[in-house]
Each structure stands twice: as structure tokens, then as C-alpha cells.
Symmetry: C3
Amino acid sequence: MNFERKIAKIISNVSDAAPVVHHITNYVTVNDCANITLAIGASPIMADDLCEAAEITSLAQSLVINIGTLNRGTIESMLAAGKKANEIGVPVVLDPVGVGASELRNKTVEKLLEEINFTIIRGNMSEIRYMAGSNANTKGVDASDSDIASSAETGVELAGSLAQKYKCVVAITGATDIVSDSTHTVCIQNGNRMLRAVTGTGCMCTSLIGSFCSVEPDYLLATTAGILCMGIAGEIAFEKAGEKGTGSFRTAVIDEISRIDGESVIRRAKLYEA
Amino acid sequence: MNFERKIAKIISNVSDAAPVVHHITNYVTVNDCANITLAIGASPIMADDLCEAAEITSLAQSLVINIGTLNRGTIESMLAAGKKANEIGVPVVLDPVGVGASELRNKTVEKLLEEINFTIIRGNMSEIRYMAGSNANTKGVDASDSDIASSAETGVELAGSLAQKYKCVVAITGATDIVSDSTHTVCIQNGNRMLRAVTGTGCMCTSLIGSFCSVEPDYLLATTAGILCMGIAGEIAFEKAGEKGTGSFRTAVIDEISRIDGESVIRRAKLYEA
Amino acid sequence: MNFERKIAKIISNVSDAAPVVHHITNYVTVNDCANITLAIGASPIMADDLCEAAEITSLAQSLVINIGTLNRGTIESMLAAGKKANEIGVPVVLDPVGVGASELRNKTVEKLLEEINFTIIRGNMSEIRYMAGSNANTKGVDASDSDIASSAETGVELAGSLAQKYKCVVAITGATDIVSDSTHTVCIQNGNRMLRAVTGTGCMCTSLIGSFCSVEPDYLLATTAGILCMGIAGEIAFEKAGEKGTGSFRTAVIDEISRIDGESVIRRAKLYEA
């Protein structure tokens, strides 16, 4: 079975299993993350108080940690939930939103990586450059133009070395998306520029990855599936609603995730191995 | 005046009075709760710091307490606001989101019920089963399939016994919605399955109930009105936007609440007394 | 170059510069604030933990402080970020949501005004009346009907005296919007009543002002630009989607901000100097 066909299968597996995806995430895009998780057929639960974080993780089939709006309380919850996930074998996905922009974000990511074995890390080019110790031109939570201009080759190298360092799958999303487990690297050329004009499309992509990895133990495949679905939904949403503006486009992205089917994924996928 | 006609009257009373509805709620669906409250003609205020919670309640015509994303700070605020509401005679609605899923949620609901006299409690079948001491198969914040499969008769019994225990109105929303004040029980068969595929439709339903109970002292009626409006909005939204996907459907639900009129409620209502 | 033409120029300057706009804001409307900031071409970052607030401000080209859902932690962050902004010459915008409704909000605004030199303050008539020491009939976060009925003359006087007191630009949004730097006052008669039926349209307007003041040092002009864009987007959104309901209208407002162009601003603007 080829890669695209496997991804089509994972999509139907998620809605059959309706896995619980525990999120400890930011308050900016949390509603979109919940809606996209439901749209793909999984069941989101957001819980970030230390009194329940680990317990909720033990009910879940995957854990998403997103540092978009850190505060001191939720960092402890992230650590507790992440350790519980490692203990019981539940996959953990990290979205290092805005790492490089403040000491708090940098030290939190450092501590999370020390204490938790992440299954998958997904970031934009500025975030992954920072984490890989490369020169990043961080400008807040959006990737900077100079980092976006990095070549796909540079991305492949960065993702591969970070994947090797943390023994996990690393994904960089951008004009070309790159997914690496250090041995294999997949590049994805789906998507649409308008995704950058809507807040939370990166976070939503991470939620899709969190949904897929809860039912698919081949994490390179699960990560590719999440990014590919987001890219294809972005393409179709742009065709249908791009002219109307970014508000309609955002609604259409969630629409298309809720309607996504294996056949259109197979037909539209632009994947190649690097 | 029959039940449907009374509900039509309450709908116009809300927009005439524009009551302030104080919410202490979760950060996942809070924006939708505010928008649906405005859509029905009330004025939402979200305030959860202990320094102002009780004071804001004293400005309001009703209080909604929703435990979707609990944290230790807001639990104190819920208690303070709820006690103030009881003291000044403002109705209080509880949405026990995800109770059964963690000790924090279970103990918080227990404490809230000890210290506050709730006017109305609305939950899904898993939540109400848990609260009634029945076997619940909690799977996070969404009702589990096995609980959803409970018969309407079981629901009527559970809602009635919980209503008697807490001397309040209890509502279970699901395929058939059930509203009981222990003496009378109303069943509602409006709605659409797609409501389950959008986050916060339960929370929004609670906000509608919170809006209606601020102007209607017959709380069985006010609760039925809230659930009926949500169900009818869901039906019309599905007819207009269901094919587009869950993003458009969500927008359409709020649209239809903002356009709801007594005549369509009277025409579409599928109510019966159990 | 006339006023309207200057505003058209600022709109293109924002998307050319893509300035970072740091928000410390409420969790109710934060997603809309981020999306409208992106829609106008700026880059939002939301960060409210004391450990990073000032550091994030130092990366930003403007700071928006919105007190919609205050808590004790974020008040400290507002003070730290505001002082940093003053120190490095970054403009700071205050949205005093619901001031007048609780002691916490009143004292917080008092403290913020003592310790931070604000560049611009934007509120509704109830909020600005309260801040100007005039009789306000606060009813939560929405302006009360009696305050809304204040004459434009009263508004001009209130805005002017508050602007003089705090040596900043003061804007009151309502049926007629008023912007004053105490020397000059601009009135704006664009907009649509449906903007009141969607949560966060005031907050979003403040985010637009925050975006414009980061690239335009004439703050009377930058503030007018923000309010004018919101008003014109509201008008076009109402023409296109008003009949559908408030959910579609909200999406359309963001659409129209993402599509706004200088020519339609020049053609539609209804400005006069008071």
C-alpha cells in the first residue's frame, strides 16, 4: 500500500475510533483546535490545571502540548501530563509556539525536552531553527520572512538533525512542509499562502497530528497525514472561499477537514521523499 | 396559553429586557457563549477573578457556572458568585462539563452543590449519569456512545431523581432532550446530530437557558425554551449549511439563534410530556 | 493630502511593515483580535505571563492592554509591559472593558493610568463617561442604553477633557464615533448597529488601532483609521451578510478587513471635524 493510500486509511481509522485527544494549549486558538479535532472525528478535551492534568492524560489516546500562551501554572501541568503520557505509552506532540521570542518560552521548551520524551515536534521555520541551535530571526509567533526564505534543503537538514537529537519525528511547516524521523524525510507541497493569514492554522495542524498519532503508531506517517490534510483543506478552502476573505477562509478550512475523504487526499497529495 | 406559545413569548421578553448574564466559564467555548447570548438578545459578561466575581453577579440577572476548564482560582470565584446569587435571588445554572472524568471535576461539582442552591443543571447523559450515582462511561467531555444509547425512559428517571435531590430543574441533552423539575418532565425531539460535531453546543445551550431564566421564573419552561431554541437552530442550520461542513454549520447555528422567532418555534417544536 | 487619503496610505503601510502587536487581553475575544490583526496585515502576539510580558513588548511595535477578563496575575503583566513600552517608546493602547462595573476594574484602570502613559484610550460611552468622572449607567461590558443616548456634543466634550487629562488620544465608539487629542476632534459616522450584536467588535477595533499606531506616529490619524476601517467593514459586512444573522456577519467583518483597500475607504468615509 503506498503512502497516500495509507493516509486515506488513517483518516477513516480516526473517525471509527473517536480517540480522546488531551490538549494543554493556549487560549488564543483553543476553540479552533477543539473544532478541528472534532472535524476529523476525534474527541478533544482541554484540561490544564495541575490537579487534573495527569489524570486526564490517562483517559486519553494522545496528548498535545502547545506553549502559545504559557503561564507558570500550566508549565507544571505540561510536565505532569507529559510524564504520565510517557509512563503509560501515550504519544505526546509538542508545538513550541514562539520559542525564541522569550526566555520563558526558551527555558520551558528546554525543560519539557529534558523531562518528556516527545513523539512528534511541529513548528514553523523560525521555531525549528531556534530549537536546532541554528540562527533564527524570531519575530513573535509567526515565522520571519528571512527564515521562511530558507531552502527546503536547509529544512530537511534541520528537521533531520533535531529528529536525531530527540529521537522523535520533527515537522517544519511552511511553503514546503518537511517531516523527518532522521532516517526518512517526507516533503509536502500542498497548502495555500492564505493559511498564514489566519491565526492558529499551525496549532490546528498540530491537533490533527495529535488526532492521527493516537491511532497510527507509524509516527512519520501520522505526522505527514496531519500536515497533508491541513494543506489540502487549505487548498480547497481557498478555491471555495479565498476571494471572500480570511474570515470565510478560516470557516472553510474547518469545513473541508470535516468533509475530507481518502480519495481526494490520494488525488491531491503532492508528496516526495527527500 | 400552551407551552410552545409561552416559549415564543419568553423569546421576545429576553430581547426586550436585554438582561445581563454573568458567566464563569471555560476558555474553550467562551466566545461562542458570549455570541449566542448576544444573539438571543441578552448581554453577556464574563468575569472569573475572585476580586470581582460576586460583585459582577450582583449586577446580573442570572449566573452561569460552567466547569469546562477548571482551575483552582476560578473554583473560589464560582463559590463566591453562586452564594451571592443565592443571597440576592438571582437564578444560577450549572453546566458540569466532563464531570466523572477527573477527581477535580467530581469534587468541585460536589462542593458547588453543597454550597450553592442551583436553579437549573444541564449536562449530557454521561455527566448526569455520574451525578445521579448511576454507572457512567465517561470519556472526557463528550458523552460516551454507551451512555448516549441509554433509553429516554432511563433519562426521564435520572433527571427526575436528580431534580428531586437538588430541588431544581435538571436537563439532559441528547438525541431526546429531557427536562424535569421532578414533578413534570418535558421531552424534546428537535435538534440535529451535527451539533455533536461542533465544540460548545452544550455550553451554548446552557447560555441560552441562562438568558431565558433571567426573565422567566418558571424554570422548567425557561430550560425547555433554551434547549428548544438550540435544537431548532441546529435543524435550520443543518438544512442551510450542513452540506458545507462543521465550520459553516457552527456559524449558521448562531445565525439562526439571532433570527429565531416565535412563529417558527411554535411550528417546529416537537415536545411531549413524559 | 487629505485625511481620507492619509488613512488609505496607513492601511498599505501596515501590510508592508507587518508590525508585531503585543496584546495582553481577555480570553473571550482574543481569537478575533488575533484574526483581525492578521487581516489588516500585522502580526499579533498574545503573552500575559509576568515572566515574559515586558520582554515580548520589547520585540513589538505596539502594545494593546485590554481589561476584559482581568485576573490578578495579568494586572502585574500589564504594568510591566506598559512601563517597558513607555521606556522604549512603543505606543500603548488601553481598552478599559467594563470599567465602572466592578471595583477591580476601576482600581486597575486607575493604577494603569498612574503608572503608564497611554498613547490612546478607546472605550464605549459608559466606559468613557465613568473614566471622565461623569455619571455612567454601567451595565456590564456593553454600553447602557441611557449612555448610548448621550449626544455627540457630550461625547466630544468628554473625549476632549479625558484626552487633555491624560495627554493622549481618546476615542468613544458608538452611533457616532469620536476621536480627540484635546486640540482636534474627529467624528465618524460609519458603522452598523449589528456590530453591537457580536462580542468583541470593540476589542477588534482596539486591535486595529494598535496595528495602525505601530506604523503611524500621528495618533489622532491612526486611531481614526482603526475606527473607520471597523465601521466600513461593518457596513459592507451588513450589506453582504446581515440578513443571514450575527454569526455570518461576524465572519464577514473579518473578511472585509482582510480585503479593505484605500479606495473604498476614501469613497465611504463619513468624517467631520467637531
